[in-house]
């Protein structure tokens, strides 16, 4: 009897095991997590759909005209984005021109030259720069950077390079060039940290081979490291550009928010993002809102394109993607 009870017990235990406990729980949990993962796809579709639907009115009314003519007139209902596209392009490219050499130099220093004890703290400092909110940098830009640029470098620039058609004064300091400088500061950390990852992905055997041939440090860097990582560096630049195109708050605060076309870099302007931000408080409706959505749609498409290109280039390098874990 005792034995039977024991065998009965073990039997029921075996039965439980065969019933694979928690199958229903597994299915529910899996479904729940799947739904949450799908939210990301839905969200992407939602952003695209909302912007397309929102800009339909403006797209059908202005067509291609929207991109080649320049006007922003809510009173007469006439909109054109050429000036904003131009400002976005010029300020981002200038920012990249300023930031890229500095970032590459820094990344070379941090991977190839700096003594071991400098590398980690320096990188943490650069990541801290990335953590500064855009609006804080904007406050600094308004009250420190722009007045300084207006008093010091800009008059010098006009004096010595005034023969260039793009550099004419006088200027208030709130201009496209100031915006480019602020954007450059904001994209320095991202380009530096990705360039650093790309350099670190270069196999040491490359460097050792170059050293063995008697190359100096610079020659090792040039021949073994830089040449090896051209693709990845291009990707880093693209990612930086993607950020530059979408920078909003700091740019809005220093670019001067002017819709008047000018070929001077020291004249105020408005980028796609800063124009959208400058509409704050207007509560746009109808065609006005639709034109605003079209600016957003353009901005989204350009940043998505640069981001995809950047990720393809960086991924092909075998460097850690910027979304990697913190474990080095």
């Amino acid at each position: 009897m005792n034995a039977a009870a024991v065998s009965g017990k073990t039997g029921s235990r075996a039965g439980l095991a065969l019933a694979a406990p928690g199958k229903a729980g597994d299915r529910v949990f899996r479904l729940l997590t799947w739904l949450m993962a799908m939210v990301v796809l839905v969200l992407l579709a939602l952003v695209g759909w909302t912007l397309c639907k929102g800009s339909a009115l403006s797209l059908s009314k202005f067509g291609w005209h929207f991109f080649v003519h320049s006007n922003w007139d809510p009173v007469n209902g006439d909109y054109g984005a050429f000036w904003f596209i131009y400002c976005t392009f010029v300020s981002s490219c200038l920012a990249l021109l300023i930031a890229l050499p500095l970032s590459l130099g820094t990344a070379v220093y941090l991977t190839e030259l700096a003594p071991g004890w400098v590398r980690q703290p320096a990188m943490s400092m650069i990541e801290m720069l990335a953590a500064i909110p855009s609006v804080v940098l904007g406050v600094w830009g308004i009250f420190v950077l722009v007045p300084w640029l207006r008093e010091g470098p800009y008059p010098l620039l006009v004096k010595h390079f005034g023969f260039l058609p793009v550099l004419r004064g006088p200027t208030t300091g709130f201009c496209i060039l100031s915006a480019a400088i602020i954007i450059a500061i904001m994209i320095l950390p991202i380009i530096t940290s990705i360039a650093r990852e790309v350099f670190r992905a270069v196999p040491d055997s490359q460097r050792e081979a170059a050293f063995a041939l008697g190359a100096t440090r610079w020659e090792v860097t040039r021949l073994a490291v830089l040449r090896y990582s051209v693709r990845g560096l291009f990707g880093a630049a693209m990612l930086g550009l993607g950020r530059a195109l979408g920078e909003t708050m700091a740019v809005t605060m220093v670019i001067g928010n002017s819709d008047k076309i000018s070929t001077f870099l020291l004249a105020p302007g408005n980028t796609l993002a800063s124009k959208m931000a400058a509409e704050y408080g207007e509560t746009p409706l109808g065609l006005h809102l639709s034109a605003l959505f079209e600016l957003g749609l353009m901005l989204l498409l350009v940043t998505v394109a640069t981001n995809i290109l950047a990720r393809l280039l960086i991924g092909a390098m075998g460097a850690r993607q910027p979304t990697g874990t913190g474990a080095p």
């Binding site: 909003t248 959208m276 957003g296």
Partner: protein, 280 residues
């Protein structure tokens, strides 16, 4: 001849090394300058009134940003309600279920959403939720948190050794219990770190709030009404023509950066560099 060429190569090498060092110093300079000016202009303006009082009408000195600070905290809470469950559970799916290759679409979408300019989030939510409200702003910030948390969670859970899972499977524990009680628990610290970093990121965001939170000079007692937020207040005050408001913008910027950096540095110290790095 050969000797001189050798000297020239060495000189060039040290020249470029010096140039690279200068680049590194140039990159650090804005950081140092921003902190210097924030401390100089912000610390002198930061007082008890700033932290505890409501804003005064324009041109009237005094007052503070108490409602903006509380508003920012409220928005962060709302954003967390949206972003944390979706982000963590989605990250669990990416790491624990489904083949790595099959999930590329979700991963890719998350990376694209990370690169989406924040002002775009603002107008998208403006279109989805008609009218200005705290809910809309919380939703916009929550949407921004999702891709950040999903990727951080996935990365941290992928770090948990597979032998843990295998050992648990061998004991006959249901898969969902393994994920929740063993994998999630092991990766917990890293995931919390990721959440905190995402929170630090969205706290400083201003652009998504322009068309959602709108701003409000009083206390917000109803979340379906416009709400004030610290970054928004800083933006408005910095662009206003009054000196006293400029002073308060500096103080607000100092408070904001102290909060953001405290989270960032605290997280790094807590995890000793094993924190997930957020996508940018």
């Amino acid at each position: 001849m050969n000797h001189w060429y050798h000297r020239w190569r060495k000189l060039k090498s040290s020249g470029v090394s010096g140039l690279c060092l200068l680049c590194a110093l140039a990159v650090m300079t804005p950081l140092a300058l921003v902190f210097f000016h924030l401390l100089k202009a912000g610390a002198s303006s930061l007082d008890l009134a700033f932290l505890t009082q409501l804003p005064t009408p324009p041109a009237e000195p005094g007052g503070g940003m108490a409602n903006a600070i509380v508003g920012s905290a409220t928005l962060l809470g709302l954003a967390g309600l949206v972003g944390i469950p979706v982000g963590v559970l989605g990250g669990i799916y990416l790491s624990e279920f489904g083949a790595r290759r099959r999930n590329w679409a979700v991963r890719f979408a998350a990376d694209i959403l990370n690169g989406t300019p924040s002002i775009v989030w603002g107008i998208v939510v403006y279109a989805l939720v008609v009218g200005y409200s705290a809910y809309a702003a919380g939703l916009a910030l929550g949407f921004m948190m999702i891709p950040l948390i999903i990727r951080a969670t996935e990365e941290m859970m992928a770090l948990v050794p597979n032998s843990y899972r295998e050992a648990a499977f061998a004991l006959g524990i249901p898969h969902w219990r393994i994920v929740l009680n063993i994998v999630l628990k092991t990766a917990g610290k890293g995931i919390i770190t990721g959440i905190l970093l995402a929170a630090a990121r969205v706290t400083g965001e201003t652009a998504p709030l322009l068309f959602t939170a709108f701003g409000n000079d009083l206390w917000n007692r109803n979340l379906s009404q416009p709400i004030e937020a610290l970054p928004l207040k800083i933006f408005n005050y910095a662009l206003s023509p009054y000196d006293d408001r400029h002073r308060q913008a500096w103080a607000g910027a100092l408070v904001l950066i102290i909060f953001v950096l405290a989270l960032n540095i605290g997280v790094r110290v807590m995890t000793r560099g094993r924190a997930p790095r957020l996508a940018r």
